[in-house]
């Protein structure tokens, strides 16, 4: 009798265990830092008591229980609240999107270019301020003469 009950329990638990294993490993904590509580104007993780935040969390938990992946949950939130619900800049609700990369690369390039420009300007300014030393001036003068000789003017 005990054996029969054990077999029956195993048969019942089997599909449930398989379904749980198939579920993507998504957690509320993983998502709430990447989406906004839109009425609070803060990421969901920071909006502890706001009623809309609690509603949004409950919705995310329902979707997790429904075996939805992180991207699917983000897309469901976008369908409800629009793109502004995504907290990360350029997040298209799809971790493989090119926007996710460009949004970080472009400002980094901009900062590098600006830093380079400032460094260049400061170096030139300091050189101009100190002026050429007599020895350097003589070297420069002879180099210019050599360069001029190479051209048939």
């Amino acid at each position: 009798m005990r054996k029969a009950v054990a077999i029956l329990l195993a048969a019942l638990a089997g599909p449930a265990a398989a379904t749980a294993a198939d579920c993507p490993k998504t957690s509320l904590g993983d998502i709430e830092d990447e989406v906004m509580c839109s009425i609070c104007g803060t990421p969901l993780g920071l909006a502890a008591e706001a009623p809309q935040a609690q509603q949004e969390r409950a919705y995310i938990e329902r979707l997790i229980a429904d075996c939805r992946s992180k991207d699917e949950i983000k897309r469901a939130l976008v369908a409800e609240f629009g793109e502004a619900v995504l907290a990360l800049p350029g997040d298209a609700g799809d971790d493989d999107g090119i926007e996710d990369v460009l949004v970080y690369v472009i400002p980094a390039l901009g900062i590098l270019l600006a830093a380079g420009g400032i460094a260049f300007a400061v170096t030139r300014w300091r050189r101009a301020k100190t002026g050429p030393t007599p020895a350097t001036a003589a070297t420069d003068s002879s180099r210019v003469d050599l360069d001029m000789e190479r051209y048939d003017l």
Binding site: S38, I39, P51, Q52, Q54, Q55, E56, Y59, A79, E80, F81, G82, E83, A84, V85, I118, A121, V122, W125, K129
Partner: protein, 184 residues
């Protein structure tokens, strides 16, 4: 003077000016729209900002302009908003009264889950038309900071009264009832 015109002081000055400008822009852009109240204080009525949104039940779109020529009690609400729960039965009673006189309550569900909003409508037996603004873009147009807020729109599509709090029977009697005698 030459020292001031050097690149480093110019760069620092530019950065400070840019930060101050950014701060000023941030403060100015967060200032809520209050032109409607100012006009009402001056005894005037401003045209109501356009409302053109999907219906909450998913059956196409609806617009405030659809009710031109009629008094509209435009109520912004959400299912997660507790004061909205308190005022909904009052709005439903007023809608039943207004409907007989060619006027209506028009609900706009703001920044809410559509499923929860539909449950709310069903729970309170609300029969007035409902629109939905999931992203909450309409809030800027009407200067909405919290929910609920209610605007009374006259038959010519102008804002005749504003309640930036839950409405009560006395407010509805004072602000809505006299408008019913107005024609376009």
């Amino acid at each position: 003077m030459r020292r001031l015109l050097a690149p480093v002081p110019i760069a620092v000055l530019t950065a400070i000016v840019a930060l101050v400008a950014l701060l000023a822009y941030g403060l100015a852009s967060n200032e809520p729209e209050r032109g409607v109240e100012q006009a009402l204080l001056a005894g005037e009525r401003e045209p109501a900002p356009e409302v053109d949104l999907p219906r909450l039940d998913g059956n196409g779109d609806g617009s405030l302009a659809d009710y031109r020529g009629h008094v509209v009690v435009l109520n912004f609400w959400a299912s997660w908003c507790k004061p909205c729960r308190a005022e909904s039965p009052l709005l439903q009673r007023w809608h039943e009264r207004l409907d007989k006189q060619g006027a209506t309550v028009l609900g706009v569900d703001v920044q809410d889950l559509s499923g929860d909003a539909l449950d709310f409508v069903s729970e309170y037996g609300l029969t007035y038309p409902m629109l939905r603004d999931g992203p909450g873009d309409i809030r800027d147009d009407y200067g909405i900071l919290g929910l609920p807020e209610t605007f009374v729109i006259d038959p010519r599509g102008r804002v005749a009264a504003v309640a930036r709090r839950p409405v009560d029977e006395a407010w509805m009697r004072e602000q809505v009832a006299p408008l019913l005698k107005e024609r376009t």
